[in-house]
C-alpha cells in the first residue's frame, strides 16, 4: 500500500501493486517477448546457414565483408553510449544535451541502416537473394527484421527530439527517454548476438 502511494505521489499518476512503473514493466515484458522473436529467427538461421544447393547462388558466408560489418557493428554499439548519455542529460535537466545525444544516436542508427542497405545491395548483385536458398532466406529475414527494428528506433528517437523541442519532456518525465532507450539498447544486444552468430562463427 505504501509503495502504491509512493508511485502515485511520484507524479506517475498510476496505480501499481508492485511499486514499479507499469509502463516500464510492460516494456520489459515486451523486450522479453522480443527475445523469443529474435531467438526464433537466430535459431532458424543456425539450422539453415549451410543449406545452399548448387545453382542457388553463393552461401552468405562466402561473401561477407567482415571489416565492413565490424565497423557498422561498432557504430551501433557506440549509439548505445549516446543513447544512455541522452538519458543522463535529461535526468540532470539538460534539455539541449538531451536533443544533441538523441540526434547523435539517430544519426549513428541511420549510418548503420544505410550500411545494411548497401550490404544487401552488394549481396543481391552477388546472387544471394531472399528466395535463392534456405540460407539466404534465413539471413535476410534475420538481418532484415533487425534493420526494421533499428528503423523504428530511429523514428522514436526523432519523435523524442520533436517532443523535447515542444517542451513535452520535462526532467520529471525522463521515463519517456528511458523507455525508448531500453528499446534501443535491446536492438543493440540483438546485433551483438547476430554479429557473432551470423558473421563471425565460421561454417564447419
Amino acid at each position: 500500500m505504501a509503495t502504491q502511494a509512493a508511485a502515485v505521489d511520484a507524479g506517475h499518476e498510476q496505480h501499481t501493486s508492485t511499486g514499479l512503473d507499469n509502463v516500464k514493466l510492460a516494456m520489459w515484458a515486451f523486450l522479453g517477448s522480443e527475445c523469443l522473436f529474435f531467438g526464433s529467427l537466430i535459431s532458424t538461421y543456425l539450422l539453415y546457414r549451410d543449406r545452399v544447393l548448387t545453382g542457388q547462388g553463393p552461401n552468405p558466408h562466402d561473401i561477407y565483408d567482415i571489416p565492413y560489418t565490424s565497423v557498422s557493428s561498432f557504430v551501433l554499439l557506440m549509439s548505445s553510449l549516446t543513447m544512455v548519455l541522452a538519458l543522463a542529460a535529461i535526468q540532470r535537466g539538460d534539455h539541449k544535451g538531451l536533443r544533441t545525444w538523441l540526434l547523435a544516436t539517430a544519426l549513428l542508427g541511420m549510418v548503420f541502416v544505410g550500411g545494411q542497405i548497401y550490404e544487401f545491395t552488394v549481396f543481391v548483385e552477388e546472387g544471394l537473394k531472399l528466395s535463392s536458398s534456405p540460407a539466404g532466406s534465413a539471413f535476410f529475414l534475420l538481418t532484415g527484421f533487425h534493420g526494421a527494428h533499428v528503423t523504428v528506433g530511429i523514428l522514436m528517437l526523432l519523435l523524442l527530439v520533436g517532443m523535447s523541442l515542444a517542451g513535452r519532456i520535462p526532467q520529471t518525465d525522463a521515463r519517456k527517454v528511458e523507455l525508448v532507450g531500453l528499446y534501443w539498447h535491446f536492438v543493440d544486444i540483438v546485433w551483438i548476438v547476430v554479429f557473432t552468430v551470423v558473421y563471425l562463427i565460421p561454417l564447419n
Binding site: A6, D9, A10, G11, T18, L20, L25, W28, A29, L31, G32, S33, E34, C35, L36, F38, G39, S40, I42, S43, T44, L46, L47, Y48, D50, R51, V52, L53, I66, P67, S70, S73, F74, L77, M78, S80, L81, M83, V84, L85, A88, Q91, G93, P134, P170, Q171, T172, G181, H185, F186, D188, I189, I192, V193, F195, T196, V197, L200, I201, P202
Partner: protein, 116 residues
C-alpha cells in the same frame, strides 16, 4: 531548475543508483575493445580450435555489459530481470525444439532438412 522540474524524492533516490556519464564512457570503451578483439581473433588461424568458444564468451560479455549498465538491469528491480530472462530461456527452448526436429523428424516422418 524551474519548480515544475523538481524531482520527487523517489525519483531522486533512483537516480542516485544510476552510473555517471564517466562510467558509461568507460563501459563503451570496454565494449569497443572487446569488438576489436573479436575481429582480431577471427583472422588468427592458430587459434581456430578456440575461435567459437572465445567468440561466444566475448559476445556474452558484451551482452552482459549493455544489459547491466546501459539498460540498468543491475540497478533496477529484480522483476524486470526475471521478465527478460524468461524471454531468453524461452528463446533457448525454441532453438532446442527446432533443433530436435532435425534429429527426430516430424510427426509425418519427413525430416525438415534440405540437401546441401
Amino acid at each position: 531548475m524551474p519548480p515544475s522540474e523538481q524531482l520527487e524524492p523517489v525519483e531522486a533516490a533512483e537516480l542516485a543508483h544510476h552510473p555517471s556519464p564517466r562510467n558509461y564512457v568507460t563501459i563503451a570503451v570496454v565494449l569497443g575493445v572487446i569488438t576489436l578483439a573479436e575481429v582480431a581473433i577471427y583472422y588468427i588461424e592458430s587459434i581456430e580450435p578456440l575461435l567459437v568458444p572465445m567468440l561466444v564468451v566475448f559476445a556474452f560479455l558484451k551482452f552482459l555489459l549493455v544489459v547491466s549498465w546501459f539498460m540498468h538491469l543491475r540497478f533496477d528491480s529484480r522483476l524486470f530481470r526475471r521478465l527478460f530472462v524468461t524471454g531468453l530461456v524461452l528463446a533457448a527452448l525454441v532453438f532446442a525444439v527446432v533443433l530436435s526436429t532435425f534429429f527426430f523428424g516430424t510427426l509425418d516422418g519427413v525430416t525438415p532438412t534440405v540437401e546441401g
